[in-house]
């Protein structure tokens, strides 16, 4: 058949996925802690096309042909979002800029060394305990207190402390100050709370190993050796009373939306052209 017909159809589907990703980014322009996604489009493996028969054509290889594209993956952009002041004592924001020896990261958190190896900047997250006991990670620090004093996210998932248990605060949060390393202090006593609760901050070496699990939370799907607790000396701090804004760039998203739409249209025109050609082949050339 006409190979190009399926290529163009695959092009339309890939652009549709790109459009969906950008739409979701735009929808989450105001969601605190949201990290924008970028759809990466990849071409299908190429195939070899060879000529068969015909006197004028020398039998042999014509060349390589790629038969389509597909939306391969949705990459997270881990750029630090701006901080927004809310003055709520339970609103926390993470500011992280982890240093890795020998690497100077660009704005998207990637460094390519002279040998061509790619290094991603490690990122730090708050740690939550999911409904089945698994660990979930988030940058969205808009927490609140449950009736029993547990620190929970806006929809009730408990936040873990460095002892692996949810953080419980009896009494009012107005008295609580969170130090930049995550330790909870009582202003009245001018000392840490009993048992020195500290927020569990997790460092993920390669943020691309994270899978979104909805509601602003991530699951870790990589090598257990590449995820650890934040240590002394890591450049990360917890800021109380502020939230990290979404890092979606509205102007860039609009441009991506328009580009996805026009590429969709271009592929549509290609299909229409193939349709006309096939129409001619069937109706006119084959006319008796």
């Amino acid at each position: 058949m006409l190979r190009g017909l399926y290529t163009a159809a695959s092009g339309m589907m890939a652009q549709q996925k790109r459009h969906d990703t950008v739409t979701n980014n735009i929808a989450n322009l105001n969601t605190p802690g949201y990290k924008a996604m970028n759809a990466a489009v990849r071409t299908f493996p190429e195939m070899l096309v060879s000529a068969m028969g015909g006197e004028a054509v020398k039998k042999g290889v014509v060349g390589r042909l790629a038969t389509g594209v597909f939306a391969e993956e949705n990459l997270l952009s881990m750029r630090q979002g701006d901080l927004m002041e809310t003055n709520r004592p339970q609103d926390l924001a993470l500011v992280s800029d982890i240093l890795v020896e020998g690497a100077v990261f660009d704005a998207s958190g990637k460094y390519v060394d002279p040998n061509g190896n790619v290094v991603y900047q490690p990122q730090v997250f708050f740690t939550l305990q999911g409904p089945n006991g698994e660990r979930l990670y988030t940058r969205d620090g808009s927490f609140k207190s449950a009736a029993d004093g547990t620190l929970v996210t806006a929809d009730g998932i408990p936040v873990l402390g460095d002892n692996g248990q949810p953080i419980v605060v009896n009494g009012t949060w107005e008295d609580i100050r969170v130090a930049p390393d995550g330790t909870l202090y009582s202003q009245a006593l001018n000392a840490p709370l009993p048992d020195t609760p500290r927020l569990l901050l997790t460092l993920v070496n390669n943020p691309n190993d994270l899978l979104r699990s909805g509601d602003g939370r991530f699951r870790y799907a990589g090598d257990p050796a590449n995820i650890r607790e934040v240590q002394e000396g890591d450049r990360v701090q917890v800021v109380q009373g502020q939230l990290e804004r979404s890092n979606v760039d509205a102007a860039q998203s609009m441009v991506d939306l328009m580009s996805a739409l026009r590429l969709y249209e271009a592929n549509q025109k290609v299909i229409q052209t193939y349709d006309t050609s096939l129409g001619k082949a069937v109706n006119e050339i084959g006319k008796i």
């Binding site: 709520r88 009012t172 691309n208 909805g214």
Partner: protein, 270 residues
């Protein structure tokens, strides 16, 4: 196809809810004792479209599958309990609170409600004494949970530490107890029940949400003759309104873009 449309439609609805909340705040910019509402957005579920094994090509950075988001939603509305400014009115019935405290009000069904709105009135009772009530006629409670009754001929004075006294024409003073005050432990668990009153939801133990304050509480001052203004700052609300409006606009743009795509697919043939 549907993903873009559903994402935008859902997000537009969430933005509409935020707009409604901002309008509520702005409408109450002059309401005595009003506490503004804030909200938080959250992104909705993410689905991962599975990929065939052959899709795992070299150079792929993330785990297999294509993640799709479905928009945003309003996760919850919370009260911002920042102190409002005090305005002098000179009325004996107006009481303003400074600090983390709420007045106790007795509801008709026997439960308690709480409020910051201190524009109280003194209604005369059949036996000549007067009772301190809210503008809606509900009794203000004292520290023991009883209605505040001022005997005939006495003028009510509420001191800064919350203690109440009645002065008669000769200048002699009768102590009338302490005005009932509670401190909020968890403002996010307070529910607005209308008429500027807050309550605790039915299944919850009130002791978890609010704490009874003792006599002469620290950090709290009671001012008779003043009212506490609403803590809505019009500039901030307008700034948020503009942000919501622009986000709404962007989402409708995405919706119409996805509509155009569906149109193109429909017109592929004829």
């Amino acid at each position: 196809m549907n993903n873009s449309m559903i994402s935008s439609a859902v997000s537009i609805r969430a933005l509409q809810q935020k707009l409604d909340m901002l309008a509520d705040n702005v409408a109450n910019v002059n309401t005595v004792g009003y506490k503004r509402k804030t909200s938080v957005f959250e992104d909705i579920l993410t689905s991962i479209q599975p990929h065939e094994k052959d899709f795992q090509l070299a150079g792929r950075r993330t785990p297999p599958g294509f993640t799709l988001g479905w928009g945003t939603r309003l996760a919850g509305m919370m009260l911002d309990m920042t102190q409002g400014s005090l305005q002098e009115t000179g009325n004996r019935g107006d009481v303003a609170l400074e600090g983390n405290a709420l007045f106790r009000i007795g509801m008709p069904d026997g439960t308690e409600a709480y409020t910051r709105n201190g524009s109280f009135q003194m209604t005369p009772l059949p036996d000549g004494s007067t009772q301190l009530v809210t503008a809606g006629g509900l009794p203000v409670l004292d520290a023991d949970g009883n209605a505040i009754i001022i005997p005939q001929g006495l003028r009510l004075t509420i001191r800064t530490d919350g203690s109440m006294a009645g002065e008669d024409a000769n200048g002699s003073v009768v102590e009338l107890g302490q005005i009932g005050l509670v401190r909020t432990l968890k403002p996010e668990l307070l529910q607005t029940i209308g008429e500027n009153l807050y309550g605790v939801s039915a299944g919850m133990d009130p002791a978890v949400v609010v704490e009874l304050l003792p006599a002469r509480p620290e950090g709290v001052s009671v001012w008779q003759g003043y009212t506490e203004q609403s803590n809505v700052n019009l500039t901030n609300e307008m700034a948020e309104l503009i942000a919501v409006q622009r986000a709404y606009q962007l989402n409708t743009r995405a919706l119409s873009s996805s509509d155009q795509m569906m149109n193109m697919a429909n017109n592929l043939r004829g």
